[in-house]
């Protein structure tokens, strides 16, 4: 009887911890749960804050993480991954969201979910992962950071602000464009004809202009 009660209490705790109290995301998500979206939003604010620890703007150039739709980006990205890798990434997000059960933060509410902690606690938790003596914790942190940075700079506004937005390039039509359909299409749907073929040696239009560089002597 005691075991049964303990099991029920444990399950109830797990349910509340994993599911209850998460806000509704700003936009409908296909793959991510509310918990995963809340973690991503909180992690974005931790990695890419609006203000530094002294209350000044953290960056004069880049947008804060809160202004970038990281949950939306990640939802789209996960949709393009194979099932196993999708599961691995979602497990990674939940590992960080719930890690305070094993690796608590500092101060009051040290065992809260990551998304419910104070900004100072969130910073502390992430630093602990980054600098951990446990190799696997550091690897998990690197993986999470990679995902977040890729998503953050996946936002064109940030790349434009840095002057690093992709080139405008119009690809020249070459002979294989007459036989390879776009992915998912049939050959009959290829719109190019012989007349569209670029002359041999024609460069891509609007490609980066060549810079003058001194020849090596």
């Amino acid at each position: 009887m005691f075991i049964l009660v303990a099991l029920i209490v444990l399950l109830a705790f797990a349910f509340v911890r994993l599911r209850v109290g998460y806000p509704v995301p700003d936009r409908p998500l296909v793959i991510l749960t509310r918990a995963e979206a809340a973690f991503l939003a909180a992690a974005a604010a931790t990695f890419f804050p609006a203000l530094d620890e002294d209350g000044r703007a953290a960056s004069k150039v880049l947008r804060p993480g809160e202004a970038v739709d990281l949950p939306g980006y990640m939802d789209d990205y996960l949709g393009q991954l194979p099932k196993r890798q999708r599961f691995q990434i979602r497990a990674l997000l939940m590992l960080f969201e719930q890690s305070s059960v094993v690796f608590p933060a500092r101060g009051l509410g040290a065992f809260k979910r990551f998304s419910s902690m104070s900004p100072a606690q969130q910073r502390h938790v992430m630093h602990a992962w980054a600098e951990s003596r446990l190799y696997l914790r550091r690897v998990a942190f690197i993986a999470l950071k990679a995902l977040l940075v890729l998503g953050y700079l996946g936002d064109d506004t940030n790349l434009r602000a840095l002057g690093l937005a992709p080139w405008e390039i119009e690809s020249p039509v070459i002979e294989t464009d007459l036989i390879y359909p776009s992915i998912g299409a049939r050959p009959e749907q290829i719109a190019f004809t012989l007349e569209d073929l670029a002359a041999p040696g024609v460069d891509a239009r609007s490609a980066p202009p060549l810079r003058g560089v001194e020849e090596r002597t």
């Binding site: 789209d76 990205y77 890729l150 996946g154 036989i179 998912g184």
Partner: protein, 517 residues
């Protein structure tokens, strides 16, 4: 010399894509080639040129510029196996293998480098390979080089970030040179890793494969080969399923009957395929063993002024000065987001570093880590492998030494700070004096952050059938009609970027097959 345009002649070849498969099917060919990367494409072309009925099978789809994605994350999810998230166990290291027509050539940086003579001398003596000297292979390199127009990258498309590498090497007295690449009309867009929108890179899908089709080769994409059909001494074809691009969902079954099978599915997939085919060609117990990589470590340097990093060929300057010591140094560029992944810090500190990206240059080192050996084996289901590999402690010291040299080159080129990206070292080093700390650092293998797309040796060549999987022409020991053509046949890592060498070996193999059939 390439033939006239595909669309202006009565091409005998064909290409089939996923949308065209409507039922289970059986095909016949003289030769079936599994995998359309650099080696499979060369074999296909050379055998089609000799008049054989060749069928090239590829699991991925052909990509057009419309299908490329500039976002590095999304691009990797679409063009790489396991969504670009494949990694080793043991020492964690992301490893990248392509799944697309043209294989890695679609999304690599087109570096075509011949290994120095001492590499082949080492192969010959250690692995009883009498006819695999540099001199033996030079005619094959020449043939491939002429076909693809391989040439050193001109200064006009180097861009500042590549030239800085040259300046740093010059200042320290290290040799450096422009990288020979398989490109024609490069504009320095730096997009090699996400697909060349200007169509300058001569990836296999727009070079060897269409030329092979003009000669009658047939190319079937979206086919996942799951089994090689054969006995202990002879094979007669392959079978598998049609799979949808990106989702991998199976639709129809297929079988291809052929007199000869060439496996060019890649160093990870070929051993798994053999294991899944009743442990074929594995009397030596070497299939899936001896796995080696060229692990890569990237180092970032921040310069006082903007370096216009978007402009310039992706990887177009390198130094071969340290090959005997065990590493190669090269420049590097990718999508800014992908490069920013290795930026140190968090919070305002991270944003400060990201704000420095227009002044940041990334260079990398690849190591010949011969002492770090792993294995590949099939999972309980599917064709994705379990990859076990651990970095040896001496090889970790080698990689740290490479990071140290790169740091010195950065300062010699005028960098104001360098971010070595090694756990336990300062995140930023601001002087050559500070760089000395790298040399003194007690490195552990797990302190390094590495990645690799150069994979070798899982079906290695060896003159002794008891010690290797294939002989000197890539024919499986004990078989006369089963060949392997990918980098799995390398007996050791080649010290330089492997694409040119695997194509030269494939060219030689095709000659041998022609004589055989």
């Amino acid at each position: 010399m390439r033939a006239e345009a595909l669309s202006t002649r009565e091409a005998e070849g064909e290409i089939r894509v996923f949308a065209q498969y409507e039922r289970d099917f059986v095909e016949e060919a003289d030769v079936v080639v599994v995998g359309s990367g650099p080696s499979g494409s060369v074999v296909t072309y050379e055998l089609a040129k000799a008049g054989h009925r060749v069928l090239l099978v590829e699991e991925g789809p052909p990509f057009t510029p419309k299908d490329f994605r500039i976002d590095g994350n999304v691009s990797m999810a679409r063009t790489m196996r396991e969504g670009g998230l494949r990694s080793t166990t043991g020492t964690f290291m992301p490893v990248m293998q392509a799944i697309c027509l043209g294989g890695a050539s679609l999304i690599n940086s087109a570096m075509c480098v011949r290994p120095p003579k001492f590499v082949f001398d080492d192969w010959s003596t250690r692995f009883d390979l009498e006819r695999t000297t540099r001199g033996d292979l030079d005619p094959h390199y020449d043939a491939v080089g002429e076909f693809l127009g391989i040439a050193p990258t001109p200064d006009a498309v180097q861009g500042r970030r590549n030239m800085l590498f040259r300046e740093g090497c010059d200042a320290l007295g290290y040799s450096s040179e422009p990288v020979p690449r398989n490109v024609q009309g490069c504009r320095g867009s730096g997009e090699c890793f996400t697909g060349c929108r200007p169509r300058a890179k001569q990836s296999m899908d727009i070079s060897y494969i269409p030329e092979a089709m003009k000669l009658g080769a047939r190319v079937l994409t979206s086919l996942q080969v799951q089994r090689v059909l054969g006995t202990r001494r002879r094979v007669w074809g392959v079978e598998g399923q049609v799979v949808e691009p990106f989702t991998g969902r199976a639709s129809h079954a297929f079988r291809i009957n052929a007199r000869l099978v060439v496996l060019a599915a890649g160093c990870m997939a070929t051993p798994v395929l053999l294991q899944r085919s009743g442990d074929l060609a594995n009397e030596s117990r070497q299939v899936g063993q001896n796995l080696q990589f060229h692990p890569g470590c990237a180092v970032a340097g921040v310069f006082p002024d903007e370096v216009d990093p978007l402009f310039g060929a992706t990887q177009s300057y390198h130094s071969l000065d340290f090959l005997r010591e065990g590493f190669k140094l090269e420049t590097m560029w990718s999508s800014p987001a992908a490069l920013a992944v290795r930026t140190p810090g968090m919070g305002a500190d991270l944003l400060r570093h990201l704000g420095e990206l227009p002044r940041t240059v990334i260079w990398d080192a690849i190591g010949s880590t011969h002492r770090s050996v792993g294995s590949v084996r099939a999972r309980s289901e599917g064709l994705d492998p379990v990859i076990r590999w651990s970095l040896n402690e001496d090889d970790a010291k080698l990689m740290l030494r490479a990071v140290h040299v790169l740091t010195e080159i950065f300062f010699a080129a005028g960098a104001e700070k360098v971010m070595p990206g090694v756990h336990g070292l300062p995140e930023e080093i601001t002087s050559t004096l500070g760089a000395q700390a790298i040399g003194d650092h007690p490195i552990r293998p797990r302190d390094l952050v590495m990645a690799s797309s150069h994979v070798f040796c899982t079906t290695r060549m060896h003159g002794d059938a008891a010690k290797g999987v294939v002989d000197e022409i890539g024919r499986c020991h004990g078989f006369d009609n089963l060949f392997i053509a990918d980098t799995g046949i390398f007996p050791r890592c080649p010290s330089v970027n492997p694409m040119y060498t695997v194509m030269a070996l494939a060219h030689r193999q095709a000659q041998a097959i022609r004589e055989q059939i």
